[in-house]
């Protein structure tokens, strides 16, 4: 019920509901931007039952993704080192899966 889907604003009409065309991975739908007055064309918004409920914070999303990339790289490094250690000592090393 609380399912909301991210989409990109393509066009905004000048009406009280701020009716906009929003693209969801290429499929476009009509969405009201009345609840996100600061959203503009090009922004990503979270859409729930035909209304945008937030303008997505791109800077925060990017920062999060960078942290994830680092985390994944560290995990791979640990695994490789664990395997090296395992073959060197013959004991069981870090198993990741």
């Amino acid at each position: 019920m609380c399912l909301a889907v991210p989409g990109q604003v393509l066009q905004i009409a000048d009406d009280p509901l701020r009716t906009a065309t929003v693209s969801f991975g290429g499929v476009t739908k009509t969405v009201s931007l009345a609840l996100v007055p600061d959203a503009t064309v090009g922004d990503y918004v979270m859409v729930h039952v035909g209304f945008a409920i937030s303008r997505l914070n791109e800077e925060e999303a990017r920062r999060t993704l960078e942290a994830y990339a680092e985390l994944a790289a560290m995990e791979v490094k640990d695994r490789v080192e664990g395997e090296e250690q395992q073959s060197a000592t013959g004991r069981e090393g870090v198993k990741s899966r």
Binding site: P6, A34, V49, S54
Partner: protein
Amino acid sequence: MKYVDEFRDRAVVTALAERIKQTVSRPWTIMEVCGGQTHSIVRFGLDELLPKNLTLVHGPGCPVCVTPVSLIDDAVRLARQPGVILCSFGDMLRVPGSQGDLFGAKAEGADVRIIYSPLDALELARVNPHRQVVCFAVGFETTAPPWAMAVVQAKTMGLPNFSLLVAHVLVPPAMEAILSSPQNRIQGFLAAGHVCTVMGYEDYEAIAARYRVPIVVTGFEPVDVLEGIAMVVGQLEEGRAEVENQYVRSVSREGNRQAQAVVDEVFEPSSRIWRGIGEIPRSGLRIKSAYAEFDATVRFRDVLAQYGPAAQEHPECQSGLVLQGLLKPPDCPAFGTRCTPERPLGAPMVSSEGACSAYYRYRKSGAG
């Protein structure tokens, strides 16, 4: 950036699961409040990546599931009224009331329409001036602003044939009800990211402090859910009980003020019965008197008054225990046998966010 695939990355999922394994030193029990998160967990098998001593419990976060039988019955009665078009989100159609469901009413000739947005219902009212359009307005804080917008819009347009049968519920009172129960075993919460997108998380700070539980506002993609779990576990291991925000790309501490304002304009808190759980004070919404003309319980008072006391749910359904995290769906004796999506005994088997439906769809074997 598409905001979807990036948050399903397998390498990140593996890394987060590994981090959780390394952090957990003793058994913990965490509840994900929202049914959307439950579906993500069961669908992507996230629970299977977690250490054995970390227990995930599914919460009451499915508005369809907690709608009491009496309200379903009212919706069915209004749908059967001559001249009425009853609008509902698709999930509600198969939820059993005491005298059948909306789907049954539709099959018998009632005009029941599935809508995707409150705006669809407004449009139906506009193009059918001689019919009464009644909306079964179900949802949490996330869905309340769109319904409130529709009511304000109906008033502006002067639509005399548009009304809501409100079945809205609020999350924080339900969390408090769970935490203050003597049977409670929840030690940390994943709060629902889209509810907090609208409401912010100031209300949760008082709950975290009062009950000494960590609460992490969490999104819905696999990476979001695992990171939320990692953050809760981190707090538990360090003995902290704070509100943290994993879903920063959508949620701010104060939430969406615009959305909150329109909800305050149209609705006010009221006591509400949660299906299978009971009455929780100030846990629901009702329409304010200034908008009473759009309240279906006022407009159709005489119709609804003809019926006797509220009915009870099916005696065999354990949904109350499931919704409070006290029973896993496969442990319900009726699961998959006497209760299936085609012939449900309770709402959690048919709602797209119901825990029973998640297990039925993704774990039909009943394992897990």
